[in-house]
């Protein structure tokens, strides 16, 4: 009897903990919005006049009611701008994954290649992806392709390094199992190494998508034309701070969605050893 009631209490505890965390988050949100609203209301006597949350909310409601309107190059809906950015990020990111994961696999399986390519990776990895932009613009001569290239170059490293690390640290026992079952090299890679290294690889993919989303905003500010990064800069040039703050919030929301998608992918491939 007491055992049963205790286990029920144990079950309840995590739920009540998450409920309390949610309540606390809401309380913090209310305080932040309150301070923000008060600080920007003029009653505080501040010299800089930022728009308050109520104004942003109105702006957001207007924008989100028609996210896909298009009134020419300098006036597009937030949905269109985000779609441009997301498309660029996904293209560059997918190309990077297609290259990084197979190469990472080879590096992880071959100490020779790991040593041979190691110095190149060491030198290329710390270069800010935006430093490539002039070269990209000069050689590719297209702003969209150049920003895709910049996404490609920034998202390749975490995926490459994590894949190589994950593959290299597959336990010898698993490889022995593959060998005693007469698996070919290809079968071993597909049925043993890939699932064993998958959590590390997907973690690399998660880091990459985060970096890509950080970089695309900066890249679009540089090259202009379309995208959420350009949109932020354009609103600033128009001195439309409502738009700037709204765009910033939307960048955050999309970033969370990307991260959560890969968190879900990670849960799908995770295993307890």
């Amino acid at each position: 009897m007491s055992g049963a009631s205790r286990s029920r209490a144990d079950e309840r505890r995590p739920r009540s903990a998450s409920l309390r965390a949610t309540l606390l988050s809401l309380a913090i949100l209310v305080v932040l919005l309150g301070v923000w609203e008060f600080g920007t209301s003029g009653a505080s006597g501040a010299r800089v006049h930022l728009p308050g949350p109520s104004r942003i909310a109105l702006h957001a409601a207007r924008e989100l009611a028609h996210p896909f309107y298009d009134n020419g190059p300098n006036d597009k809906g937030v949905g269109i701008q985000l779609a441009y950015s997301i498309a660029r990020v996904l293209t560059g990111y997918a190309l990077a994954a297609l290259l990084a994961i197979p190469i990472g696999f080879v590096l992880g399986m071959s100490p020779l290649w790991q040593r041979a390519l190691g110095p190149f990776i060491q030198v290329l990895k710390p270069i800010s992806p935006l430093a490539w932009m002039p070269l990209a613009l000069y050689t590719i001569r297209d702003s969209t392709l150049s920003s895709i290239f910049v996404i490609f170059i920034c998202s390749i490293w975490p995926m490459l390094i994590n894949t190589a690390f994950g593959v290299a640290s597959v336990r010898r026992d698993f490889l022995d199992v593959a060998r005693t079952h007469e698996l070919s090299r290809w079968e071993t890679a597909l049925h043993v190494i890939l699932p064993a290294a998958a959590p590390t690889i997907v973690t690399g993919m998660r880091i990459s998508i985060g970096i890509s989303w950080l970089v695309i905003v900066a890249a679009e500010m540089l090259v202009g034309g379309t995208g959420i990064g350009y949109s932020v800069w354009n609103e600033w040039n128009n001195l439309n701070l409502d738009g700037v703050i709204f765009s910033i919030l939307m960048i955050g929301v999309v970033g969370v969605v990307f991260d959560q998608l890969l968190a879900r992918a990670l849960r799908a491939v995770e295993y307890v050893d």
Partner: protein, 297 residues
């Protein structure tokens, strides 16, 4: 003996002297024995005498420094599905369910089988080790004993000609170990598979083996002698205790492990030839007394 099912000849594992000046190390040398088809052979010795290495060489996972292993007349140079391995720490693939770990092996063995047949065959072997109803759990959700049962099912399901076991119950508690040993006896009685098993558990060796190879301590470990276990089969843990031969064998093994395994390298009798280790029958009347280092019959 030259044409045994499995023949191990003059096997050695040496590590060359390191540049730092460490001397060369010979883990074991002149290891020589044969296993007949259908025999259950245990290799008994202290840790560090290279038992696991010998098993890995038999499996084809490692190469010996010297010597030859041949099975049915052909040299063992690479792993093969003809030699199933049960590893010490079960080595199940943790991202696969118990059932999928077995189908993994069955599908590798019979690549032309349709999926239903693979599934049916795998289920049969999981049932054999008493794992109905838990076949969809992953290894992490199974107890240590259940995991090792899956490992046993996986190995038996591929019906290898030779089954190699590396202290398969070493990581289990005594009670679980006993239960699974009994199950292993039961499964083995049905298949009469040729088995080579490594253990440091004297009772386990007596319960399971037809022959027990005794290994001296390393370095330069060798096979000291071969103990024949002639207790009637099917053996049963408690029934065995009433057989006086059991105690004779047990005393012989314990005495070897705690005394002679240390001293034999230093003061072997003149007629001791590690490549022809004596076969002793401590279970027979008067067997233990006259057996020591007796020349082969």
């Amino acid at each position: 003996m030259a044409s045994a099912f499995l023949q191990v000849s003059a096997l050695a594992r040496r590590y060359p002297a390191a540049d730092s000046g460490d001397g060369a190390l010979t883990v074991f040398e002149r290891v020589h024995f044969g296993v007949q088809a259908g025999e259950f052979v245990c290799l008994l010795g202290h840790s560090g005498c290279g038992k696991s290495t010998i098993l890995r060489i038999l499996a084809g996972l490692e190469r010996a420094s010297e010597g030859v292993v041949s099975m049915e007349g052909s040299e063992v140079s690479a792993p093969s599905l003809e030699r199933g391995v049960i590893f010490q720490d079960h080595s199940l693939l943790p991202w696969r369910s118990a059932l999928r770990n077995v189908t993994f092996a069955v599908r590798s063995r019979w690549r032309d089988w349709p999926p239903e047949r693979v599934l049916e065959h795998s289920r049969k072997y999981l049932e054999l080790v008493g794992l109905c109803g838990t076949e969809h759990r992953r290894p992490a959700q199974l107890s240590g004993g259940m995991r090792q049962r899956v490992g046993i099912a996986r190995a038996f399901a591929t019906r290898p000609k030779l089954l190699l076991m590396d202290e398969p119950f070493g990581a289990l508690d005594a009670l679980t170990r006993g239960t699974i040993q009994d199950e292993l006896v039961r499964i083995w009685e049905q298949s009469r598979q040729t088995v080579f098993m490594i253990t440091h558990d004297v009772d386990e060796a007596i319960l399971l083996a037809d022959k027990i190879l005794l290994m001296t301590n390393g370095p330069r470990a060798r096979i000291a002698e071969i103990v024949a276990v002639e207790l009637p089969r099917p053996r049963e843990r408690t029934g065995m205790l009433r057989d006086p031969a059991y105690y004779a064998i047990r005393n012989h093994l314990v005495e070897f492990l705690f005394e002679r395994s240390r001293t034999l390298n230093a003061c072997a009798p003149a007629d001791y030839d590690p490549e022809r280790p004596p076969l002793v029958h401590p279970g027979r009347e008067g067997g233990a007394a006259n057996a020591r280092y007796a020349a082969r019959p």
